[in-house]
């Protein structure tokens, strides 16, 4: 009897769950290609390369109300294993209203040996700030680092080493990690941050490395990226037409260097740290912006949007099918699978099938975590061991971010050209308060009239 039950559950999962399993199948096929190519890549990565000379590099730091984090960021640049005298640092202020400049002055006073510059724009705009920096930079390599990001001590050295050993590499993103003390807190926000840590670990430890090998990097991270000066100056630089200027530039650069067989990659050993997300609302806002940016950039870079079949053979098309087309199917089926109980399916079958789907996602996340874990250095592995159990939360976290990204698709179509993202939960709360207030007022009025 139990055998028949599990057979039914499997049938149910494969038949009805295909709408939710299909995105998983896309993930699994991607994972398989990741693992195979990474296995090949690992041997290449180990090939040693020693720098014969140390070129001059420029680090650009766009500053916007960054007083709290700027000192730590600049300190991390000062602490680089790369010779300080060969690092030019340009901070470009774009309309800060806090005391960021005083922080800069304090740092400059403390470290006169570091070539530091401060440029100021009279308005906010990260793209403009970065462009000013890119034009002013004199280094052979231009590296941009967000003011709320800090570099690992070998980051610049790894960037230069990788560029020098790969003449075809024109631009690269560094590897981003979330700077969170692991395994200490267990509040909701801590768990959210742990998930974020693992998400970044997988994204940069597997995803970006795979994209690096196949020359299909989707985004040169705005937080930490590096460019060959001569190539970046041939481009349109950062544009603010979309909410994702870094992805826009990545696609533009790819077009420029396509004929020259240039590559855009990821330097896994060049590590930068970012602060963990502060709240669920911030995570929502971030993911909405990412999804929206992705759609905007792809829309702009498709001369003519291809048919479904052609899209399937392009990496951008596959991303769109996975992130946009399948998102619509998942939307309905996420609710419909439990709803099948009301259409006549037995409750144990439906519950067991949903549990089975969770297990499928859990296994995939577990595998990703394991592979990403093996790709990092030993001290970080020890840190990660403290939160190994977070793997069980990852399917839930991905489920959450799926809804945020779906909201990004909707918001992108309904609120054009806006960086600000309204939190729908807050909107809903405001709405309920509004109606409650209206209701209370109505009751008072009625009472007053009766009085």
């Amino acid at each position: 009897m139990a055998e028949i039950f599990w057979e039914r559950v499997l049938d149910f999962m494969l038949f009805w769950g295909i709408w939710l399993l299909a995105p998983l199948l896309v993930d699994i096929s991607t994972a398989v290609s990741y693992f195979v190519t990474l296995f090949m890549y690992l041997r290449k990565e180990d090939e040693g390369f020693t720098l014969s000379h140390y070129p001059y590099v420029t680090v650009l730091v766009p500053v916007y109300n960054s007083a709290e984090t700027l000192y730590k960021c600049l300190q991390s640049i000062r602490d680089q294993s790369y010779p300080s005298a060969l690092i030019q640092v340009i901070c470009v202020n774009n309309g800060s209203r806090d005391n960021s400049f005083e922080v800069f002055q304090r740092f400059q006073y403390a470290h006169p040996e570091l070539p530091l510059m401060w440029a100021s724009l009279d308005r906010p705009g990260k793209s403009e700030a970065l462009n000013v920096g890119l034009y002013s930079g004199q280094g052979s390599y231009l590296i941009n680092v967000d003011a709320d990001t800090w570099l690992d001590k070998d980051a610049v050295l790894q960037v230069v080493r990788t560029f020098e050993s790969n003449p075809s590499l024109v631009a690269a993103t560094g590897s981003i990690r979330v700077d969170k003390v692991l395994g200490k807190g267990f509040r909701f926000i801590d768990l959210l941050n742990y998930c974020e840590v693992v998400e970044y670990l997988i994204a940069f430890g597997i995803g970006r490395r795979y994209q690096n090998l196949t020359n299909t990097l989707f985004t040169l991270s705005g937080a930490f990226s590096a460019f060959r000066r001569d190539t970046i100056l041939q481009s349109f630089l950062y544009q603010n037409r979309t909410v994702s200027e870094d992805t826009d530039l990545t696609f533009h650069l790819r077009q420029i260097v396509k004929k020259k067989q240039g590559r855009i990659g990821c330097i896994s050993k060049a590590i930068a740290y970012v602060e963990p997300i502060e709240s669920l609302a911030r995570l929502y806002s971030q993911r909405v912006r990412w999804q929206r940016g992705e759609i905007e950039v792809l829309a702009m870079h498709y001369g003519r949007v291809p048919g479904a079949l052609k899209a399937l053979f392009q990496f951008t098309g596959r991303i769109l099918i996975s992130d946009h087309t399948l998102a619509f199917l998942r939307l309905s089926w996420t609710f419909l699978i439990p709803f099948l109980y009301f259409l006549g399916y037995s409750l144990p079958t439906v519950v067991a099938a949903i549990f089975g789907l969770f297990i499928c996602y859990l296994l995939l996340d577990g595998l990703y975590f394991l592979v990403a874990y093996t790709s990092v250095d030993e001290p970080y592995q020890k840190e990660l061991q403290k939160i190994w159990w977070v793997v069980f939360l990852l399917p839930g976290y991905r489920f959450l971010t799926y809804w945020f990204r779906l909201a990004g698709i909707i918001v992108g179509m309904t609120q054009p050209k806006s960086w600000s993202v309204e939190n729908p939960v807050k909107q809903l709360g405001d709405l309920l308060r509004f109606y409650k207030k209206g209701l209370v007022k109505g009751v008072f009025r009625k009472q007053w009239r009766e009085f």
Partner: protein, 395 residues
């Protein structure tokens, strides 16, 4: 707001008409009462005269389910015996795990004893496990007084069958010279008694759903508006259409179209007047029968409701675009579904009934899935990209 209200009224009226109960057209539910009008035009297998002992020479075996009830109903008709008053005992064997063997521990059989007496025939059903262990007994006046027909029902849980689980069965007399129906092989069937909710209750839910959707739209909380609108629309439409005239019509027409398409491929199927969407296929390879029930899912109605919900509430499109996409989408989904059904039957017909699972899940579902993804690409992704390109490009 006024426009939305007007649209809601129009839509409501259309849905109200379409969700009208199928009533007598689809056939009444089965009632164990010894009257047999409810078995007219239902799915059945027929058998010739003279191939069995006189008292157990079967003419037909019919089967079906009732909505909201997890029981399998059967009706046995005998060739009228010379001594009409003589009773008979027969067995209905169930291959519960659908593996071709009737001797597994989960398999069962129902021994049915029929005694025609004045005022209605007495029927006793004893349900046994394959090893002969008595599981349950059911009795009633469920037969004709004349000795020709009798009906009975077996609960699905006693048989150990989950809804939509395929099961095989055949009818056999007892003793030497007893008849068998079908003469060779058996019939495979995946009974799925649907659940139909009260339309009044659904209408009340619909009212609340519309009101919330209107508020979310008015306050431009687009993510919640879309999720609430699209998912709610699908749920409500499905609940409205379950057991409705529209479901009956769609299933009936789909069954007829598939029946004709298969005839072009030289695959003979049987359809029944009062069993909309039921196709009986003779699989020559297995020398057995397979019952294919086209329900709210396999008729494509469920997918249509999902698609329409997603299109009608997508806030990026103008009403004209929504109408265009809806029409094109409905036609496409229906065609894709026809293709899927034909593929499933062809796969089972060519590969035998053991292919059922692969045919349904892999051929049918995957092909359908791929085609739906293609449709969604053209309805959602491509136009969305064009629209985004317009506003981003316009600066």
């Amino acid at each position: 707001m006024k426009r939305l209200f007007r649209l809601g009224v129009y839509l409501g009226f259309i849905v109200w008409v379409l969700s009208w109960p199928a009533g007598a057209r689809a056939g009444q539910g089965f009632v164990l009462d010894g009257a047999f009008d409810d078995w007219q035009g239902r799915a059945h297998l027929a058998d010739g005269r003279g191939d069995g002992r006189e008292d157990a020479d079967f003419k037909a075996l019919a089967w079906g389910t009732n909505e909201n009830e997890r029981r399998l109903y059967f009706m046995v008709e005998r060739q009228l015996p010379a001594a009409a008053g003589r009773g008979c005992t027969c067995r209905l064997y169930f291959d519960v795990d659908c593996n071709g063997s009737y001797d597994n521990s989960v398999d069962k059989y129902a021994e049915v004893t029929y005694r025609p007496v004045a005022g209605g025939g007495r029927v006793a059903v004893e349900l046994y496990s394959a090893s002969g262990h008595l599981l349950a007994v059911y009795r009633g006046r469920w037969g004709e007084a004349g000795g020709r027909r009798f009906e009975f029902a077996v609960p699905m849980n006693k048989l150990g069958i989950y809804p939509a689980q395929p099961v095989r069965f055949y009818l056999s007399g007892i003793g030497a010279g007893a008849d068998r129906l079908p003469d060779r092989g058996d019939n495979q069937w995946a009974p799925f008694p649907g659940t139909v909710k009260s339309k009044t209750g659904v209408a009340a839910v619909c009212f609340v759903w519309l009101a919330v959707a209107a508020i979310l739209r008015r306050h431009r909380i687009w993510p919640f508006y879309y999720i609430w609108g699209a998912v709610g629309f699908t749920f409500i439409m499905v609940l409205f259409f379950q057991g409705s005239l529209l479901e009956y019509q769609v299933e009936y027409r789909t069954g007829m179209i598939v029946h004709r398409l298969l005839r072009c491929l030289d695959i003979v199927t049987y359809v029944f007047d009062k069993a909309p969407g039921t196709l009986l296929v003779l699989i020559k390879m297995d020398e057995s029968w397979t019952t294919i029930d086209i329900d709210i899912e396999s008729s494509g109605l469920l997918e249509l409701c999902i698609f329409l919900g997603l299109v009608l509430f997508y806030p990026a499109y103008r009403p004209a675009s929504k109408l265009l996409f809806s029409l094109a989408g409905v036609a496409s989904v229906y065609l894709f579904n026809l293709l899927r059904l034909v593929l499933v039957v062809v796969a089972i017909y060519c590969g035998g009934r053991n292919m059922s699972f692969i045919a349904h899940t892999l051929f049918g579902r995957l092909v359908f899935f791929v085609l739906i993804v293609v449709l969604y690409w053209y309805v959602f992704t491509r136009p969305s990209l064009k629209k985004v390109r317009e506003y981003v490009g316009s600066g």
